[in-house]
Symmetry: C2
Subunit: 163 residues, 2 copies
DNA sequence: TTTGCGGCTTCCCACGATGGGAAGGTCAAG
DNA sequence: CTTGACCTTCCCATCGTGGGAAGCCGCAAA
């Protein structure tokens, strides 16, 4: 089957499938005479494995390890388990960090009246500043261009978790 | 003062200070005759504001908004508060996502004996596969080079939260 | 004064995972 | 045969950060 079909069946974009091949996460696909990549059910299965692993927050590099563990029918289940447990630990650390941010922000926000007056403990907290002796001048209307750029929207989508 | 001093005082790396200037997050620094950038206390203060905002998980673009809010002494505190509240929401979404990953992984790990036998519900869960009819062939010893790369270690540091 | 060193400058490259898009080849249906 | 959907490769951008080179600057010790 073609890459588009494999993509639909696995939930991995064609871009990513080619990328995974390029980086060696998956073996080079077979090719039709035309040059089109050809996938079979086992390939799709592997791609689904990869997608599920990504959904669980593993990096591509870690997934390389998982694929090896999957392929190795003689490795101990404890190897897999410790891999998973280590990942859980990392995820929990991340949660803890975010939790700390939330706590800080909430305590700041709790003290903010949120009315039309300008005094704001949130900004003061970020500035560690009660007066405004050091309040900066207004930034000149910066259209937020990257180094030489002309602004691009392109993916202002859903929250993502990058580890 | 020089950029290195401002960096030490603010906790923002010199690389980042220049980057923030380049992207317009901060105004172009004054220069000595030598061409060296020159910072004053207000600049350092702004950098500290930026660093604290980053630590709270705001993106650089959002910090642009925060700086504007800080500079605008006539804006309502409710503007700041809704900004902060929105951010808290995004943070919580992220926590929820990670929590889901952890729950899934833990339930998988709970069923794994973690002994020296190979049967492993974790791998099976990722593969959605109870037998091993579709178990992939071993990946050829891939030294995990990027497209053309010769591997780089470079920052294998602490867990970070990227939003 | 020369030498040396550390700090500064700009410029380019890399990371990880992903998407956009251009230029061109292929295939099946009409 | 044309059309349109699909495929190929190649390059570029994202976001925030660091690495490192090549070259200038400033200060202090020899």
């Amino acid at each position: 089957m073609n890459i588009g079909r494999a993509s639909k069946l696995s939930g991995v974009s064609t871009k990513m499938i080619r990328y995974y091949e390029q980086t060696g996460l998956i073996p080079k696909a077979a090719r039709h005479n035309s040059g089109y990549r050809d996938y079979d059910d086992a390939d799709v299965h592997r791609l689904r494995f990869i997608r599920r692993s990504r959904d669980l927050g593993f990096t591509v590099e870690q997934i390389g390890g998982l694929l090896d563990l999957w392929a190795d029918r003689s490795r101990a289940s404890s190897d897999v388990k410790s891999f998973a447990l280590g990942h859980i630990e990392r995820l929990k650390e991340k949660m803890t960090e975010i939790e700390a941010m939330v706590r800080t922000l909430e305590s700041l926000a709790d003290h903010c009246h949120g009315d039309d007056r300008p005094e704001c403990p949130i900004i003061d907290g970020l500035a560690e500043n009660d007066g405004d002796s050091l309040r900066p001048k207004r930034r000149e209307p910066q259209r937020f261009g990257r180094p030489g750029g002309q602004s691009a929207r392109h993916h202002g989508g859903a929250a993502k978790v990058t580890l």
